[in-house]
Symmetry: C2
Subunit: 347 residues, 2 copies
Amino acid sequence: MPLVNDTTAPRIALVGATGVVGTTLIQLIEERGFRYRAIDLVASARSAGREVSVEGRDHRVHDLDGFDFSRTDVAFFSAGGSVSTTWVPKAVAQGALVIDNTSAFRMDPATPLVVPQVNAHELEQRPASGIIANPNCSTIPLVRLLRAVEDRWGIRQAVVSTYQAASGAGYSGIDELREGVRTVLEDPDSPGVSKTFSPSLAFDVIPSIDRRLDDGFTFEEQKMLQESRKILGLPHLDITATCVRVPVVNSHSEAAWIECDAPVDRDELVRALAALDEVTVHDREELGAFPTPRTAGDPNRVHVGRIRVTRTNPRAFWLWAVADNVRIGAALNALQIAEALVERGVL
Amino acid sequence: MPLVNDTTAPRIALVGATGVVGTTLIQLIEERGFRYRAIDLVASARSAGREVSVEGRDHRVHDLDGFDFSRTDVAFFSAGGSVSTTWVPKAVAQGALVIDNTSAFRMDPATPLVVPQVNAHELEQRPASGIIANPNCSTIPLVRLLRAVEDRWGIRQAVVSTYQAASGAGYSGIDELREGVRTVLEDPDSPGVSKTFSPSLAFDVIPSIDRRLDDGFTFEEQKMLQESRKILGLPHLDITATCVRVPVVNSHSEAAWIECDAPVDRDELVRALAALDEVTVHDREELGAFPTPRTAGDPNRVHVGRIRVTRTNPRAFWLWAVADNVRIGAALNALQIAEALVERGVL
Ligand SMILES: NC(=O)c1ccc[n+]([C@@H]2O[C@H](COP(=O)([O-])OP(=O)(O)OC[C@H]3O[C@@H](n4cnc5c(N)ncnc54)[C@H](OP(=O)(O)O)[C@@H]3O)[C@@H](O)[C@H]2O)c1
Ligand SMILES: NC(=O)c1ccc[n+]([C@@H]2O[C@H](COP(=O)([O-])OP(=O)(O)OC[C@H]3O[C@@H](n4cnc5c(N)ncnc54)[C@H](OP(=O)(O)O)[C@@H]3O)[C@@H](O)[C@H]2O)c1
């Protein structure tokens, strides 16, 4: 029974508890039997006062404005970058360790950026900043695969195109996709609905996620390079990406072309990836034997398929990865960070 | 007035006249005022006898089975690869010149594979085989852009991920996407509708188009390599692709990363691409200034955006291209081949 009367179990707070990531974090706490001594659900004034059930017990949602973190051991922040920028330092100052799902502190040198399957060793002690950052949702599955490739073949460069789901923009993204699709089904010439996404995502693909930077790349594309370098501890790693939103409700996909230092044997590569923790390789011979967002299966695993070495360059190969962006890309990774901290006695 | 009483204008036949490509070919003949002396619409027994209007005149659809091409100067085939394999040789034997939209003859050495903006010079005389092949719908926009890049900077390699629309699979693809989306909107757990696509394309992306080859690539991916080499006359060109179907009704998109022999100046690249015939570069500074399938604009142009040179490698750049697969990728290219043949006096 995860809510325990045990002073060694942490007191937790979920900021953004009513959002897609927060709601999934609650589900995962239930599914995985994460042990906690007390739980506080926190959101904006919009949701404050609502009752949310965790393991059959009702909890009243607190307003972040005025919330006191001095009785919180670990706070999960999933309420957007600007909320984290303002509130994470206050929570830390009040004594909480923060696991932050936003991009606010990811590149801060005093803050470890952690994917437990890759760099759990950075969780041996409480970080100097009091914050552990959770990487971007497209970066997490990629680095989990790249680690194995780097160790065996060395990565010269990776070229990645993403196929990112609406849920990456939270509940408003999911709702807008559904509503837009309904509108365009009725009137094919309708521009659709466009508030969260621009233009509407209904029956369209949008090659632009997050803000545009001076060099023409988007912030989302830059995150994939910078965060991968930091997580893997490879400051010169060469990854370049195009990040594209597609009309899928949930789960991001990526087509990654990876050129190595050494020739890659396909069978060995398949075995190396299949041996990774919580990774499923879809490699049956028939056409159809590849993961897709809706059919991949277990949402707590990274799904890989279409592994193929190019004929023109035996050092290069393609893979296709599908991962639940809300679980693998956010809530599950955050909870696995907490589990690793508990295991190491840091929490 | 395109239907002309002029013995120099060709007598044309459209095989597959009732399909997505055939219907669009009729529209383009009307829009562009293509001059012909007689027109025959041909399809299967399913549509034979139907009346189809061309420029306000009703034409009865003929059954391909038993159709006589001896009074046809040029026959456009858009009825699938197996129909072309059987019927194109018969049409040629009966004296017609064939412009074939399928993959049946594209790699035949006696058959030119033509994108008029790239290799119209191959249309100076009637080909030995009596056939001119129209390339794959993802290949056409790409080679139109690559020609300029090769000539100025030299292409070392290109890595391309596609975002291909349902219309690439004809009317049944479009209908199935719409029906599947409607089904999944009502019941999010429904597997959707899956006959043309597998699994259903509704709210999903499918990293597999056309049949799988022994090396793990699909035929669609191989076409992009082999056809580009043939059209550009660059037998060692290194292009590798992942071809993905996305829940878009019409217009394919491609994210292409291109590494050159020489460093690329972005402004010069933008100018070079913008100077190409029937290409629009979307390059305004604001976020949102990129083409998407539903918003790109003029369907008779290739739309390019997100042009950016990578920081880590100044010889490499990305671009995002959107092109109407039915027009640019099939019907318009085929008609432009015919126009070029007329201009050169071959037809
Ligand atoms: N979705 C993903 O795949 C994903 C992946 C990685 C990281 N993230 C990050 O996780 C965060 C949340 O994403 P989401 O998808 O869960 O978004 P969401 O569904 O829109 O939920 C947002 C949550 O933040 C709360 N919130 C918003 N403004 C607030 C404020 N001023 N003060 C307190 N709480 C506030 C909302 O509470 P109310 O109910 O009161 O509005 C809600 O609980 C974002 O920073 C996002 O970048 C998301
Ligand atoms: N859609 C694209 O983006 C695209 C791009 C490049 C190339 N192509 C190629 O163009 C061809 C047609 O594609 P589409 O998208 O127009 O398909 P579609 O909408 O399914 O239309 C198929 C057409 O072929 C006819 N047809 C089918 N089987 C036939 C047979 N046994 N004998 C005579 N006619 C037959 C159909 O006639 P009925 O009405 O009698 O069934 C219909 O006119 C395909 O080979 C495709 O590979 C398509």
